[in-house]
């Protein structure tokens, strides 16, 4: 027969201070666990949501990032005329040959400088990408020295407000607007007209990538095969989504690895803490436990009961951890994505799935930490405990 659950609940509330400290210890571990997961999730999210499923991106064969890619003017013209490229209502191809370049700019309010992605785009790009919304100012006018800056990085670098001048090489460009792009990686970029930016940055003649809307996205495999086999091109075609998702891999693997390492070590500490508390609590209740055994509860029931008690404490800790970590949600942070060698702004993102994972994790901590003390409790000899 199982020992009533209420017994454990009362035991937990009977020792409020020690329960609270143990729970808080576990809570902090869980909070850090959530933090690491939220960081990786946020970083991933901004890259995974980048690009549209109907778009394809063309890069030079072997290039693993936009900056290491190259598409010549001739190649881009061939691609523009390709039958797979959708045509807009104005009769122009829905495609954007883009110049992607990394520019080094001083940080705002922090020492040092960092790299920002500068993207020279076709005027069709905003429509092609979708989700690009101006939150201040206006879109740049094609053919002029105007650029727009993503809202997320505008606060992190100097001279990014509407009306400011940004200098690239020998030319000043005017910031005319700030944009958002649905949380995607484009929110870490500066955009301008490729036709103006390329000569200014001595990049005439070749682009980095070519992005187009597919007329029939279902035929992607066939389109890919045909373009890649074209002897004039020597290019590689990828789905835009897949390409950007792959860009996050290196960093999110690193963050997850570091987060896991930190969490495992902290978990060991927390398990020791939980075990300690349970040992103390069981030690103090030797007689009580003996009484339970005398009353006819089997050693198995005692074992389960104490493990349950430990799990209760741990889950309380897990809940505390979730609450502690909540303020992290939405904090914008930034670091360099070494895949693209430029600054990526991203937000900590705590999803219900992460919270659930964290609660399971905390229960696990309680289970492991409580098992041996519970085993000890279930195995104690009746005669000596009752005498003690």
């Amino acid at each position: 027969m199982a020992i009533p659950f209420a017994y454990n609940l009362r035991s937990v509330t009977h020792r409020p201070v020690s329960t609270a400290t143990t729970a808080l210890g576990i809570g902090l571990t869980v909070a850090i666990y959530i933090g690491a997961l939220a960081l990786a999730a946020g970083f991933k999210a901004s890259l995974v949501t980048t690009g549209s499923p109907d778009n394809a991106i063309v890069l030079r064969k072997g290039a693993d990032s936009e900056i290491s890619s190259g598409v010549s003017l001739d190649q881009s013209n061939i691609l523009k005329a390709d039958p797979a490229v959708a045509v807009g209502p104005d009769g122009r191809p829905r495609a954007s040959a883009e110049m992607v370049i990394v520019v080094n700019k001083p940080r705002l309010g922090q020492k040092g400088s960092s790299n920002i992605m500068l993207r020279g785009v076709d005027p069709a790009a905003a429509d092609l990408r979708g989700g690009v919304t101006m939150v201040a100012g206006r879109m740049f006018t094609p053919g002029t020295d105007e650029v727009i800056v993503a809202k997320r990085i505008a606060g992190r670098f100097a001279n990014c407000n509407v009306g400011d001048k940004l200098r690239f090489e020998q030319r000043d460009f005017t910031v005319v607007g700030q944009f958002t792009a649905g949380g995607s990686a484009f929110e870490s970029e500066i955009w301008g007209d490729a036709a103006v930016l390329m000569p200014a940055l001595h990049r005439e003649g070749y682009f980095q990538t070519f992005v187009f809307r597919m007329k029939n996205p279902e035929q992607f495999a066939a389109i890919k095969k045909r373009i890649e086999a074209d002897p004039r091109l020597s290019l590689e075609v990828k789905k835009e989504r897949d390409f950007y998702a792959a860009q996050s891999e290196l960093f999110s693997t690193l963050i997850t690895a570091i987060g896991t390492f930190i969490t495992i070590i902290m978990a060991i500490g927390a398990v020791f803490g939980a075990a300690n508390t349970m040992y103390a609590s069981i030690g103090a209740r030797t007689r009580e436990i003996a009484t339970l055994l005398v009353l006819g509860f089997g050693p198995g029931a005692v074992l389960v009961s104490f493990v349950v008690e430990s799990v209760i404490i741990a889950v309380i800790g897990g809940l505390v951890g979730c609450v502690l970590s909540l303020p992290m949600n939405g904090i914008t942070s930034s670091t360099t994505n070494f895949q693209s060698f430029s600054e990526m702004a991203f937000q900590f993102r705590i999803t219900p799935a992460i919270m659930l994972q964290a609660l399971v994790f905390s229960a696990l901590l309680g289970l492991v930490g409580g098992f041996f003390p519970a085993l000890k409790a279930s195995r104690q000899s009746l005669s000596s405990s009752l005498r003690g």
Partner: protein, 394 residues
């Protein structure tokens, strides 16, 4: 009295061990995280103040023409000038095992001779000149177009051997690139990474740029290091209105630029470190309190025997300090010896370093944790009146 503390420590060996172990684990983690910050700090020191790095003003990713070299060399105060070009290829046999490769030209090893030494090298097949100032053991490397020099740690990690030919897949420079390992270097300065590969820039420009000579960075050795800022300004003003313009920095400032790219990550690590310390403080304090509460009767007996309040107080604090200090010492020193010197960041950062400073901070934290966690129970124990202590029944 000291004996009493020791006896008490072994009263419940499991509890003592668990508490000690959790402090140990926490301090290990604290020092490891501190080590990451130290490594970032250390990477700033890689660069010497007396070497300069010239790059494209727009950003490191942009190239500068080889033709700039002669004009840079002509600037008074420049002793040697070498090309250093990021290659960024991946190893098809081990795609995840990223490491840095640079195409460098002849004066490079002369400039860096104070930082590295050649520990293994193939014998030269023909008599050939080694550039002035470079290690004569590099003769075989200088004779072969596809030769490369690799760091000792990289060699061990990949299981390569001297004389072996390896093939890398280019990303920026497409194609398959065979290289033959002709020399192995060891870093004389810890900050110089040992997981890097160097090869002939000429091979890179001939095969990868179809003869067009674009350069990532120039590294300069100065005849008088104290003139660094003069030389630096002289170079940049020379190219101010050229396309592209250059940006010249000391090597130290150049490295600091990489560190600043990490953004707020160092801050995040600091916060995590503090959270860990705090959670361990809770655990230790909790244990000490339970352990003291259990012994209330005992303290009554001790006091009856004539132990003063101060002595009882000291005893409890000492017990707590021994537990946390023991765990702290093992954890902090463990981090120093286990983590120090490992290159977990591939080529981007020098090997991990954990400063003694960090270790001592860790140990000091352990001591403070001990004192704080022992303080409240110690106060309770010392203030205890004998009558209350002996009367209390659990």
């Amino acid at each position: 009295m000291f004996k009493l503390v020791i006896v008490n420590l072994f009263r419940n060996p499991l509890r003592t061990f668990l508490t000690m172990a959790s402090v140990m684990v926490a301090l290990f983690l604290f020092c490891t995280l501190g080590g990451v910050l130290d490594t970032l700090q250390e990477s700033i020191k890689v660069g010497s103040e007396s070497r300069l790095v010239v790059r494209n003003k727009i950003s490191l990713v942009q190239w500068i023409p080889m033709a700039y070299r002669q004009r840079i060399e002509a600037v008074p105060g420049v002793k040697r000038c070498a090309v250093q070009n990021w290659f960024g290829a991946s190893d098809p046999a081990d795609a995840r095992g990223f490491f840095a490769q640079f195409g460098v030209d002849d004066p490079y090893f002369a400039i860096y001779s104070p930082d590295i030494e050649i520990v293994q090298s193939s014998p030269a097949q023909a008599a050939g000149g080694v550039p002035e100032g470079a290690d004569p053991k590099l003769a075989a490397y200088y004779l072969e177009r596809t030769a490369c020099v690799v760091g000792e740690k990289l060699l061990l990690k990949k299981g390569w051997k001297l004389g072996q030919t390896i093939t890398l897949a280019g990303t920026i420079f497409p194609g398959n690139w065979p290289f033959t390992i002709r020399a192995v270097y060891r870093a004389k300065k810890k900050s110089f990474g040992e997981e890097v590969m160097f090869f002939h820039y000429k091979y890179l420009s001939e095969k990868g740029m179809s003869g067009q000579e674009a350069v990532g960075t120039f590294v300069l050795e100065l005849s008088d290091p104290s003139q660094a800022s003069t030389v630096l300004n002289a170079i940049d003003s020379q190219f101010e209105n050229a396309a592209p313009a250059t940006l010249t920095e000391t090597e130290q400032a150049f490295q600091a630029g990489f560190v600043s790219m990490y953004g707020n990550i160092p801050f995040v690590l600091r916060v995590i470190g503090l959270a860990i310390v705090f959670s361990i403080l809770l655990i230790a304090a909790n244990t000490m309190m339970t352990s003291i509460r259990e012994r209330t009767g005992e303290f009554g007996v001790l006091k009856t025997l004539g132990f003063t309040d101060g002595q009882v107080f000291g005893m409890v604090v000492l017990e707590a300090a021994v537990i946390t200090l023991g765990g702290g010492l093992i954890g902090a020193l463990g981090a120093k010896f286990a983590v120090d010197g490992n290159a977990i960041f591939g080529g981007f950062l020098p090997p991990m370093s954990v400063y003694w400073n960090t270790v001592f901070t860790g140990i000091a934290i352990a001591l403070v944790i001990g004192a704080v966690s022992g303080l409240i129970p110690a106060m309770q124990a010392s203030r205890l009146r004998i009558v209350d202590a002996l009367r209390r029944v659990d």
